[in-house]
């Protein structure tokens, strides 16, 4: 089933939490809503589920407007951040709940329910845990029970609210891979809320980055990463440096150093964003990049992290891969040249639209 959100707005009292949201998740796709806390992503998910109601706009399941339907009638599988398992019921009863509360004429017979529960527990690899209670399970296991319970009602869409937020790092990684496999297998349209960019980029077919109640960019993970639409996206995805630059007569300057030419002609100050691993650190080589001084070196596993003070006064974080030094050993205090391999320039005036992407 396809999920579409059109012109959705929502305020809690005076505070607006969602502004004119438009989102399309095609049948069978996995969409991630990514953003910092308070960006409105959970509210959006809950509106899609029918747990909150929008002030304006539509939520379409295929072509049906479900805005008037309660959560009860939407047939969505919702996985809560803290699982929300019924703590006084066994795992099997938890999973069976959605089937048992159906009207009598729609309710499957007891043996059918039992079989279905067994299948689902098998699916989430908890076949032997049916008789236990939620508080006897680990976090990852509870998460899988919550998923089985949501799947029991044969939902038309699966909604996941920070499903791995409460798990420790290793379990999280395993669950991620497992969930993506399951979603592909079931072909179920899914929407995931997360504040973890790795999770979003790795899991989803499309990522919608949210901030202050707006979707600021919605694209494939690759596009989001390679061509962030705004400085905020750059910063949110992590590892980005910001340099002040200047555009003058179609030329781009950082400090006095000319970086390249730029289609945007207007004379204005601008911000340049560049990720630490998109910067190349070289022994000093006049005329080929930005000049600076090596301030600090820290060894961080695979990468060496360098901090460079540019002549313009900005400091720049640089990731130096172990193979790049070509036998050269870096010394703190030495003069260096940096070359920006891939960066984005954003005019500080005209909103958040990128003026240019430069890639090598």
């Amino acid at each position: 089933m396809q999920v579409a959100v059109q012109g959705l707005s929502k305020a809690f009292g005076e505070t607006a939490v969602l502004h004119d949201i438009n989102l399309l998740v095609p049948e069978g796709q996995f969409c991630a809503l990514l953003g910092p806390s308070g960006s409105g992503k959970t509210t959006l998910l809950r509106i899609i589920a029918g747990l909150e109601f929008a002030d304006l706009g539509r939520v379409l399941f295929d072509s049906t407007d479900v805005a008037d339907r309660s959560a009860r009638d939407r047939q969505v599988g919702f996985v809560f951040q803290h699982y929300a398992l019924f703590r006084h019921m066994t795992i099997a009863d938890n999973v069976a709940f959605g089937l048992q509360v159906r009207e009598r004429k729609l309710r499957p017979a007891a043996p059918v329910i039992k079989r279905r529960v067994a299948e689902l527990l098998e699916l989430v690899q908890l076949a032997d845990y049916g008789a236990r209670y939620p508080d006897q399970l680990s976090g990852g296991q509870r998460q899988r029970v919550a998923l089985a319970r949501a799947l029991a009602i044969e939902p038309r869409v699966l909604l996941l609210d920070e499903p791995f937020g409460a798990l420790d790092a290793r379990v999280r990684k395993d669950m991620r891979t497992w969930l993506r496999g399951l979603q592909t297998k079931l072909g179920l349209t899914s929407i995931l809320v997360t504040h973890d960019q790795d999770e979003a980029l790795e899991l989803a077919d499309s990522v919608a980055v949210m901030e202050h109640g707006h979707i600021i960019q919605c694209a494939s993970p690759q596009a989001i990463y390679d061509q962030p639409a705004t400085p905020a996206v750059y910063e949110f995805l992590g590892g980005a440096n910001r340099l002040t630059c200047r555009v003058s007569n179609g030329q781009l300057f950082v400090g006095d150093a000319l970086l390249g030419s730029l289609a945007a002609a207007d004379d204005a100050a601008a911000d340049l964003y560049v990720r630490a691993h998109d910067v190349e650190l070289l022994p000093t080589a006049p005329g080929t990049g930005l000049q600076g001084e090596l301030l600090r070196l820290t060894w961080g596993g695979g990468m060496t992290h360098a901090q460079v003070r540019l002549q313009s006064g900005d400091t720049l974080e640089v990731d130096v891969p172990p193979w790049s030094s070509q036998g050269h050993s870096w010394l703190v205090g030495q003069a260096v040249t940096v070359r920006l391999r891939r960066y984005g320039v954003f005019g500080s005036l005209a909103g958040a639209h990128p003026a240019a992407f430069v890639g090598i």
Partner: protein, 276 residues
């Protein structure tokens, strides 16, 4: 904007629940209370003032509020000690003593009343030892105070106890490692968390003590203008079919309690704000 009832809710039952709650509350609590307030002014404000400002009523109100404050204050001190001992120390029978704290909640006030007067009467269990020293408890204001100390104790202990339980022991230990004396630790680490709870307990104890009737009337002796409490005066007026007079005292008590609770609440809010 959609009206309150039409507004969409995630869970069902809001309209029904709110309707039932407000209706019930209105019928059982609000309507009768409103009747009293209206009735108290039935013969005009001047009459109300006259009824309330008679020497006997004033004395009764003064006693009710004064003895309640004194009793609540004493309970703050001993309640804090008891809560501290119950939370921090382990000793034989602790659980029993802990359970016993609620006795004043559970024991009907009339039972408490006759028991206290049997204890403190001139020939009573304790009274016979106090009398020779010139300490008269039963049938005096002291008796009122003693009864209210009994009644109000659980309010203090039960509000302070959970706060003490939640206090992070590591904070105290940190203070100790930083060289604070025990008194400094108490004053600067514990007290800021305890004070608001004590004030809440004091407020609840006071509200309860001001209205207390059963446990007081047996021990007080009920001498007009000396040891007669305000609630008793209400029943006396009622027996004389002076409904307006009774309503006037009742409304005065409510008014005074309300002002007192308001002041204490504001004080507490300030306290919590200062902490932040």
């Amino acid at each position: 904007m959609a009206s309150l009832a039409q507004q969409r809710r995630t869970l069902p039952g809001f309209g029904l629940g709110l309707g039932v709650t407000i209706t019930y509350l209105s019928l059982i609590v609000l309507l009768p209370l409103a009747t009293m307030l209206l009735r108290s002014l039935g013969n005009g404000p001047a009459f109300w003032w006259q009824a309330v400002s008679s020497a006997r009523v004033l004395a009764a109100l003064r006693l009710s509020f004064g003895a309640s404050m004194a009793a609540a204050a004493v309970d703050v001190i001993f309640g804090l000690i008891i809560a501290w001992v119950l939370v921090r120390y382990r000793f034989i029978g602790r659980r029993w003593f802990d359970a016993l704290i609620d006795l004043p909640f559970a024991l009907p006030t009339a039972v408490a009343g006759i028991t206290l007067s049997a204890l403190y009467a001139g020939n009573g269990w304790l009274g016979q030892y106090l009398e020779p020293w010139g300490i008269k408890v039963a049938f005096t204001r002291v008796g009122v105070f003693v009864a209210l100390v009994f009644v109000a104790l659980p309010f203090i202990v039960r509000t302070v106890q959970p706060v003490l339980q939640d206090l992070d022991k590591e904070c105290e230990e940190a203070a100790a490692t930083l060289g604070a004396s025990r008194w400094q630790t108490f004053r600067q680490v514990l007290w800021p968390s305890l004070a608001p709870a004590l004030l809440t307990g004091f407020t609840m104890a006071l509200a309860r003590a001001v209205g207390e009737y059963g446990s007081v009337i047996f021990i007080a002796g009920n001498l007009p203008r000396v040891s007669e409490i305000a609630p008793l005066l209400i029943t006396i007026k009622l027996e004389q079919y002076d409904y307006v007079g009774a309503a006037a005292i009742g409304s005065a008590m409510l008014l005074l309690s309300f002002v007192l609770l308001l002041v204490l609440n504001l004080l507490q809010r300030r306290m919590l704000r200062v902490q932040r």
